[in-house]
C-alpha cells in the first residue's frame, strides 16, 4: 500500500507531465515502456513517499535502466517527490533532471543510473545491508531492461541472489524485445535456473502487474518480466 498522502495526480495525468519534458503529447513505446510498471509500483506497491525519503524502513526502488527517464520523472512528480515545475527544465544545465537520473540531485532517486548493469548488484548489496541491520520489512525493487540483462554484472547478481535466498529483493524486467540476441528459453528461465521466483505478465495490464508484484515468494528473490510492445514497433 502506498503511504503517499497526495493523490492529486492519476495515471491519466502522466502523458501531460511527460509532455512538459518533451513537448510531445504522443510518446513512442520506448519512452513509455516503463510507465505502467512504475505507476503500479509507486501507486500501489512501494512503501515510499516524499515524506519518507530518509526513513530506513522505506522500500527502495532502484531504476537501473536509466535511459529515457521521462516516465520515471513524471511518476516522481505525480507522487510529489519533485515539483512539477522542475519538469520543463529536463536536460538543461541547471536542471536536476538529466537524461540519466542522479540520486544526488533528485529527491527519492535511490541510485544514479545510465550505465547499464549497475542497479541489480547495488540492489543485492542494499538487500544484504538491510538484512544485516535486522531490517526485514523493507522491500528492494530494481527495474532493468531486457537488453540490459546482457551485462555480465547482472548475471553475477542473479546467480548470487537466488542461492542465498535474498527474498526481499525484487527485479522487474521490462521486456520490449530490444536485446539483439534473445535469451534462449526466455528471460524468466534465466532467473528460475538461479532459484528465483518468477512471473511473466502483460506490462500494460495494471491488475496483472499488481498481482505479479504481490505474489508471495518465501525464501526466494522474485522476478517479474513485464512484456510490452517491441521497441521499434
Amino acid at each position: 500500500m502506498s503511504i503517499t498522502a497526495e493523490r492529486t495526480y492519476g495515471f491519466d495525468d502522466l502523458p501531460r507531465l511527460m509532455a512538459l519534458m518533451t513537448g510531445d503529447e504522443k510518446h513512442g513505446p520506448a519512452a513509455t515502456s516503463t510507465l505502467d510498471v512504475l505507476w503500479v509500483l509507486y501507486d500501489r506497491v512501494l512503501r515510499a513517499g516524499p515524506e519518507h525519503l530518509d526513513d530506513p524502513e522505506r522500500d527502495r526502488f532502484l531504476l537501473s535502466k536509466g535511459h529515457g527517464p521521462m516516465a520515471y520523472y513524471a511518476v516522481l512528480a505525480a507522487k510529489g517527490f519533485v515539483p512539477v515545475e522542475w519538469l520543463p527544465g529536463f536536460g538543461a544545465y541547471d536542471s536536476a533532471l538529466g537524461y540519466h537520473p542522479d540520486r544526488v540531485l533528485v529527491p527519492g532517486v535511490e541510485i544514479g543510473s545510465g550505465s547499464l548493469g549497475h542497479g541489480l548488484p547495488l540492489a543485492v548489496g542494499t538487500a544484504l545491508g538491510l538484512r544485516a541491520q535486522g531490517r526485514h520489512d523493507p522491500a528492494v525493487w530494481v527495474l532493468v531492461g531486457d537488453a540490459e540483462l546482457d551485462e555480465g554484472s547482472n548475471h553475477e547478481a542473479i546467480a548470487y541472489a537466488g542461492p542465498t535466498g535474498l527474498d526481499r529483493l525484487h527485479t522487474v524486467v521490462i521486456d520490449n524485445s530490444s536485446a539483439s540476441h534473445a535469451r534462449p528459453g526466455g528471460i524468466a528461465a534465466r532467473f528460475e535456473a538461479a532459484g528465483w521466483s518468477t512471473e511473466t505478465v502483460d506490462g500494460r495490464d495494471h491488475e496483472a502487474l499488481y498481482a505479479a508484484f504481490t505474489t508471495p515468494h518465501p525464501g526466494r528473490p522474485h522476478a517479474v518480466v513485464a512484456r510490452v510492445e517491441p521497441k521499434d514497433s
Partner: protein
Amino acid sequence: MDSMRDRFASVASRMLDEDPRVAVVLAEIGAAGFAETLRRHPGRVINVGIREQLLIGAGAGLALTGMRPVIHTFASFLVERPFEQIKLDFGHQDTGAVLVSAYGSYDAPAGGFTHMSPGDVALLDTLDGWTVHVPGHPDEAETLLRHAVGAGDDRVYVRLSEQKNGRGLPVDGARFLTVREGRRGVVVAVGPMLDAVLAATEGLDVSVLYATTVRPFDSAALRRATETAGPEVVIVEPYLAGTSTAAANDALTDVPHRVLGLGVGRRELRRYGRMEEHVAAHGLDPASLRERIEGFMRARVAV
C-alpha cells in the same frame, strides 16, 4: 612476523566485533581468514563468489543502507577489473567504502602478469576523493586499516603488500614522516620502499620523507623539506613509476624544481621468479636506486 594480509583478517575481524556498521565483502579470495568470524557475524561477512563486478556493486549497496563495507581481493581484480563499478557505484552514487587489496605490483611474481597490478594507484588517481594508504609494515597496515574504516563514509584504498620494511613507524593516516634530513635534495619513499631508499641514500646528504598515505598528497611536508634540502625531488613508489609526479609538481608549482619519479616500469617483463628479481629488474634495489638518485641530483643545471 605475520604478513599484511594476515593482519588484515585479524584486524577486520576485530572491527566486525567492535562496530556494527562494518561488513566485510569478499570474492572467495581471503575467505578462509574469515571462516571463524563468519560464524559470529553471518550477515556481515559476505562472500559473493568469484564475481568482482558484484563485489563492488554489492559493497556499494551496503553503503547505501548506511553500512561501512570493507571490500577485499587482489589488486588486479579489485581495482582494474571492475573499475567502472568503482567509478560509478561509489563516486557517482556519493557513497564510500574501504577497498583493501593484496598482491599489487609483483608481489606474487611466480603468478605472472595476470596477478600483477602496478597501475592500481594511478588508475584510482583518475577519480576524485579517494584516500590511498600504502603501509610499509604490518603494524602500519593495522593502524591505517583502522583509520580507513573509521573515516566516516570516505572512499579509501588500502594497498597491502608482501614487501615490507624491517620495522614499522608511527604513521598517522595523513602526513609524511621525516626520516632523515639533508641539504642536497629530497627523496620520498612510499610504503615498502623505505628500507631500500635508506640503504640507497646512505652517506648522501639528502632528506628522506616516508609516505604511507599518498592521497591526499602531503604537499606541505614536501614543501617544507625542499626549503632546507633544495627543490630536487625523487619519489620512489612500489607501483607504476611517476604515479605521484604530478602531485609533487602541484605541491611545488610556484618554485623552480625538478622531480624524478621512480617505480615499477610500464613494460611487461613477462617473467616469473622471485620478488627480489623483479625489484632488481625495475631498478628498485638499493644499488640501482643509488645510481639513479645520485645521477639525478648531479644533473643540476649550472647557473
